[in-house]
């Protein structure tokens, strides 16, 4: 009985929390996210209440985790790829309108010179107008007062008139004052010597257009570009996020300042991934063969030494290489200068930077291949090598005619996984070169050593532009590549479930 009460209590509490989150998100017009959590909560309740779905209770948390943090972000990203979501078009239309309508400017015509008086009850601001003087009630001026009514007055308050030096000290607290006159006007500090009336910058019309009250220019909302635009073509920032269809994809294909770098980076990404797989496999297979050879003693020692690069956390060893390859202080250039008298510029020459990346990645990746190959080599029957030795075959013959044909099939899915991993090897590039050296003539951040993933990351998160839409479009293209690879992989590895 207790258990049942406990169970339902916990369930009710969780559902209550989820409902709170959903309603809060809905109230903030975050419909996509409200929907996401609604679906999640509903399916959770369904699975945990329905007796028939007992088995699904076990897998629900894992599936929900994947749905929330893998599948939903993936679909959301694909969706962003069709919008102009970026640093300049970050908000929704309503938020942009609120932002613009909240803007004000200070009038040139309605101005008051003022004096600040210290009376027994506090500070008093006395405004001298052309027709009518105004006075505030006594104030503390400690920054807590925002809106203060002012009343018509005819004589200056009694008390000490403060000098400019004291006014300067109280400047920020004076600046936060909003003085409300009896006829509904708002005044704020315009300079150290004057207060001026505040006007709304824009007036909203029924048809959605807005007029700038200062310049009398009218702006119309343009839902194709996500900006308020005037007849002259001027646009107001901020803009809002709109759907722009395939424009991001077209940009990648047609804009030469994006197409050029994109193509270069794509080719480099492919070559990097292929080269990494080939180098690590060649090295790993060679070492695995040596370690399998029964004539070699001290295998345990060799094995431990050889997998050390795999055991050190990658983010540390990549940074170690970054320091060692440093042009001026790096130990690698120190050694090279001592031996050959040269100081290669590893980080600013594109070819050298790419060479360095391949060296580092081979260092990082060969132990994995070696371990895989060792496992697979053990499965090859010894007598096959006996037979080939009888026929007079050497090691090279053995490798290509016995070993490779036997291990290539189980190895293939692992090689494809390794290819996919390196195709998206973000950490290596982000920590080692950050994409540098830059590609000249690119309109987005793009470097000669950037992989598609790091290129996408930089478009989305690096300094200028923050073009989330474009980044998402490129990410979608990469999703397709990865999806195709993993499907092939699934076929090849004949996964049984």
């Amino acid at each position: 009985m207790m258990r049942i009460i406990l169970k339902w209590g916990v369930l009710a509490a969780l559902v209550g929390m989820a409902l709170y989150l959903i309603l809060a998100l809905y109230a903030q017009q975050e419909f996509v996210f409200a929907m996401l959590f609604l679906v999640l909560t509903a399916s959770a309740v369904f699975v945990f209440v329905n007796k028939k779905l007992y088995a699904h209770r076990y897998i629900f948390p894992a599936i929900a985790g994947m749905g929330l943090f893998v599948i939903f972000p993936l679909m959301y990203t694909v969706g962003i790829g069709f919008t102009n979501y970026s640093a300049s078009n970050l908000l929704s239309f309503e938020q942009v309108q609120d932002n613009l309508m909240g803007r004000t400017y200070q009038s040139d015509s309605i101005r008051y010179d003022y004096g600040l008086y210290q009376t027994d009850a506090g500070y008093v601001v006395y405004l001298e107008g052309e027709h009518q003087d105004l006075v505030t009630p006594p104030l503390e001026l400690d920054g807590s007062e925002a809106s203060v009514p002012v009343l018509p007055a005819s004589k200056r308050p009694t008390g000490e008139s403060l000098a400019m030096r004291d006014i300067i000290q109280l400047r920020s607290n004076l600046g936060s004052l909003n003085l409300l006159t009896e006829d509904g006007r708002e005044l704020s500090m315009a300079s150290l010597r004057s207060f001026a009336a505040i006007h709304d910058q824009y007036t909203l019309h029924d048809n959605g257009s807005i007029t700038n009250n200062q310049t009398d220019v009218t702006y119309f909302p343009d839902h194709d570009t996500g900006f308020y635009r005037s007849a002259d073509g001027d646009s107001l920032s901020p803009g809002w996020t709109v759907n722009i269809g395939w424009d991001n994809y077209l940009k990648v294909v047609s804009d030469p300042t994006i197409r050029g770098p994109f193509f270069e980076i794509f080719v480099w990404t492919l070559s990097f991934a292929v080269a990494t797989v080939v180098f690590t496999l060649a090295l790993g297979l060679l070492l695995a063969n040596l370690l399998q050879w029964d004539q070699i003693r001290g295998k345990g020692f060799y094995r431990t030494m050889l997998i050390l690069p795999y055991a050190v956390p990658a983010f540390i060893s990549i940074l170690v290489f970054k320091g060692l390859f440093n042009q001026n202080f790096g130990e690698i250039n120190l050694v090279l200068e001592g031996l050959f008298g040269m100081r290669p510029d590893w980080f600013s020459d594109p070819a050298l930077a790419r060479t360095m990346i391949l060296i580092v990645n081979t260092w990082l990746g060969y132990p994995y291949m070696m371990l895989l190959c060792m496992g697979l080599l053990q499965a090859i029957p010894r007598d096959l090598y006996e037979a080939s030795a009888m026929d007079g075959a050497g090691p090279v013959n053995n490798l290509f005619n016995v070993t490779l044909p036997l291990i290539i099939k189980p190895l293939m899915p692992l090689l494809i996984a390794s290819f996919a991993f390196n195709f998206n090897n973000f950490v290596l590039i982000a920590l080692l070169t950050g994409g540098a050296p830059d590609i000249i003539g690119a309109s987005t951040p793009a470097g000669t050593t950037d992989l598609l993933v790091s290129y996408t990351y930089r478009i989305a998160f690096q300094d200028s532009g923050q073009n989330f839409g474009l980044a998402a479009a490129i990410a979608t293209a990469i999703f397709l590549v990865v999806g195709a690879l993993s499907l092939i992989n699934l076929k090849l590895s004949k996964v049984k479930v």
Partner: protein, 296 residues
């Protein structure tokens, strides 16, 4: 032992030994270098590969102790390395516990129960696991931004967000554990169920105790993977005192503020425990990595 041995075998064995030793020297050069640099005085001094006047200044700074030089100048530690290490360990332990608990129960259902859509779900998990989270960072960032407005401990710049986000990567572990469960005979559990045990009891008191080895492996794997996670933490965490080691360590090597010696000491200090854990567990880890997931 092979019966047929060519005459040149002796030289080939010797050549293999020499070749491997030479290779190991090259491979270990970066690691040995870093240890040596961590004892070298100053951040810019280059000169010899072995430190000429060994100094512990970088080690003091890495351990968070201000270092007083010979001329009396006091250097403050540039970054809170130990705090970063602690953050990393905290996040990794909590993540690993959660991942282990959730993937074990899922793997149990996948291994022992029949239900609709089982094959489909298992296969889709394998496919989705290959999509790198770095590509959907914009969406993840937005997701945690929105959640954080209402649930503050899950928002941006919190460890809660990093921990929860790591739960997206459970498929690999589910496959590993399921592979192990599949290899355990199910007759014991069936006998228990015949005797009146519930499914949960059969799982909790019979299968789990038998699976301790694989659970240890998965825990360590999940722990190491979370410690090494970089892209997600780099976007979600902002404040210096919230960073994980993987995100913070790169700050030593900014071009404007290049602290090569300090980095070396911090790297050895924080990298060594993880390396040792990995080496100690490598047999099981490798088995889990290669055999557990994909059985060809």
């Amino acid at each position: 032992m092979a019966m047929v041995q060519p005459r040149s075998t002796k030289y080939r064995v010797l050549a293999s030994h020499l070749g491997m030793l030479g290779f190991i020297v090259i491979i270990l050069f970066p690691l040995l270098m870093v240890i040596s640099i961590s004892f070298r005085s100053g951040n810019f001094a280059s000169g010899s590969l072995l430190p000429e006047n060994p100094s512990l200044e970088h080690w003091y700074l890495a351990l968070g102790i201000p270092y007083t030089g010979e001329d009396g100048t006091v250097t403050q530690p540039p970054f809170p390395v130990l705090l970063w290490l602690w953050n990393s360990i905290k996040i990794a332990v909590v993540s690993a516990v959660l991942i282990l608990a959730l993937s074990t129960t899922s793997a149990y259902a996948f291994a022992r129960m029949r239900f609709a859509g089982k094959g489909f779900v298992l296969k889709s998990m394998l496919i989705f696991q290959m999509f790198p989270p770095v590509l959907s960072l914009v969406a993840l960032y937005a997701l945690f931004d929105k959640i954080g407005n209402h649930v503050s401990w899950l928002g941006l710049n919190t460890h809660g967000a990093v921990i929860v986000a790591s739960l997206g990567g459970m498929a690999l572990h589910i496959w590993t554990i399921k592979g192990y469960f599949d290899s355990i005979d199910r007759s014991l559990e069936e006998a228990a169920i015949v005797d009146g045990a519930t499914t949960w009891q059969a799982f909790r008191y019979i299968l789990l105790p038998l699976s301790v080895p694989i659970l240890v492996v998965v825990f360590i794997l999940a722990f190491i993977m979370t410690i090494m996670e970089y892209p997600m933490a780099s976007v979600l965490l902002v404040d210096t005192d919230k960073l994980t080691l993987a995100v913070g360590a790169q700050q030593y090597l900014y071009e404007q503020n290049y602290l090569w010696g300090d980095f070396a000491a911090a790297a050895v200090l924080s990298g060594l425990p993880i390396t040792l854990i990995f080496l100690y567990c490598q047999k099981w880890i490798v088995g889990g990595l290669t055999a557990g997931g994909v059985k060809g």
